[in-house]
Amino acid sequence: MNRTLLPHPYAFGFHTKDVHEYKSKKGLNKEIVMDISFQKTEPDWMRSFRLKSFDVFLKKSMPGWGPSLSELTFADFYYYLKPIVSQAQSWSNLPKDIKETYDKIGIPEMEKKYLSGVSAQYESEVVYKSVQQTLTKKGVIFSDMDSAVREYPELVQTYFGTVIPTGDNKFAALNSSVWSGGSFIYVPKGVKVELPLQAYFRINAANMGQFERTLIIADEGSFVHYSEGCTAPIYSTDSLHSAVVEIIVKKGARVRYTTVQNWSTNVYNLVTKRARVEEEGIMEWVDCNLGSKLTMKYPSMYLVGRKARGQVLSIAYAGAGQIQDAGAKAIHIASETTSEIISKSIARDGGRTSYRGAVKIVHGAKHAKSRVVCDALIVDKDSRSDTYPMMDIQEQTASMEHEATVSKISDEQLLYLTSRGISSKEAQSMIANGFIEPIVKELPLEYSVELNRLIGLRMEGSVG
């Protein structure tokens, strides 16, 4: 990758002074894994889970496909940082420094207006958490993952690592051994959480890796919408972000998981996200990737129960020096399961977008249906877009459709707008926003506003 292109100006590229009470040594070995567990005063089962995972991590090789990860050196990162306060229950208790960081993203205002609970992750630990009383009354658990290990050991132990086993891939194994923070959600039978639950993630130290671990369990007939947005300060050295998100959608339940990923363009974002969907359950991933140097992320759904449904809506934007290798996976194991994957990507200023996806319909998944539509926009001559889908159909009664189109911004559209007095840059921005509109309208309001603004700014060249 051409390093001279990095870093470029970045809207949220600020960072405040580091405040840490504990920072692990640089690099990764067994002692550091033990130490992370010790610092968190974890039960034995989690410590041994971490150590086993670390062994798996060492044995696993790097992915033999996709973009190059040769510049990634595991020894260069810090694997655990503990902020000066471990938990603050209200906004006013937060340290000034951290509060300033959040003010710049605008958390408090959003919380007042839209949020039913905020779990804001400042580096490796969740420092700020407020769950509305109504949630607790309904029996909904919304906490950070570290606390959940201590407070709900039975639930966590039952489901942790069951959707994404440690050995799934090298980065899942890495996360399993050094994970820190992330969210834990349990929604009891029949309970519908009306407002989206949100968590804000931030990396705020150079060479700092973030390894959140999120587990969502939606019990029978329940509903929850979880959303995460990431903005990170800019650094001259590469940062590693490798999360694992596991979701269990029980019979008749529905989970929507929204991500707006906007890491600064020095971050490696290598994330494993997967949902197991039982009978008549619905899983919806809305995944927007705008930032990072390299993202590799393919939200997946394993449709294991009859009539289970899965949907992935994906937006990727790659600007100078960026690679967005994003996509989705749908595995149909049961009859009458359906999946839909809609992907839209924009490559500009030498950026590179790839759609990488897999659809598998196993023998016996009678009348399973899958539909994949990928649209890619290449804005200029320096950019590139690829499509790498795989469809594996073993069932005679199944039906599968895949369609992908790569195109540029049409001259007719540009001419139409510019002839009405709109500048060429503004017109490009309008066309790009129109292109992603079908997915953006599925986002919670504050995200869609932010997304439209970001795409607009980037297309007009004022940022990035």
């Binding site: 590139r384 877009s385 499509t387 790498y388 069932e395 005679q396 199944a398 895949h402 992908a404």
Partner: protein, 169 residues
């Protein structure tokens, strides 16, 4: 595996048709401006065979045009792995590439693995691919049956239609 490479020179138009029951590797390389190709293939392995079909449409020059349609009919115990690549090189502006892969699985033990790949290095192009796998339509079967045709014969007719349609092209 049998392999065929076509190089299409400037201004040339090539029609490429094939019917195969074995593994096959086809490469069509556009070597000059305004070159074009129509590629139509029928893949019909014998029962209980596994075959691999690869096609490549490589656009090296501006204004080159390719159009590919491959239909597979897969009987019992057989599998087809199809890997179809469209690559548009940086200099091949104003190229237009199309690729379509349609499959019919005839039995409960038929298997298709399809990977249509796009690698687009120039922005000023048009490029689309599609892949479908569809069961024999229950409505079409009912229609034929309602006209006194036995179910098994109706199935044969629909499969034959899927095949003939492409042969006639």
């Amino acid at each position: 595996m049998k392999q065929k490479i076509y190089r299409i020179a400037e201004g040339m138009n090539k029609k490429i048709n094939f019917i195969v029951d074995h593994s096959f590797d086809l490469e069509v390389i556009f070597q000059g401006k305004n070159s074009s190709a129509e590629i139509i293939g029928l893949v019909r392995p014998k029962p209980h065979t596994n075959i691999i079909i690869q096609t490549k449409q490589i656009h090296n020059y501006p204004h080159s045009k390719s159009n590919l349609l491959i239909r597979s009919v897969i009987p019992e115990g057989s599998s087809v792995a199809y890997i179809g690549t469209i690559r548009i090189e940086k200099q091949a502006r104003l190229s237009d590439a199309y690729q379509k892969n349609e499959t019919m699985l005839l039995s409960d033990t038929s298997h298709i693995h399809t990977s249509p790949i796009l690698e687009i290095l120039n922005h000023d192009v048009k490029c689309t691919h599609g892949a479908t796998v569809k069961p024999i339509s229950e409505e079409e079967l009912l229609y034929l049956q309602s006209r006194g045709i036995a179910r098994s014969q109706a199935k044969e007719m629909i499969i034959q239609g899927f095949v003939d349609d492409i042969i006639n092209k």
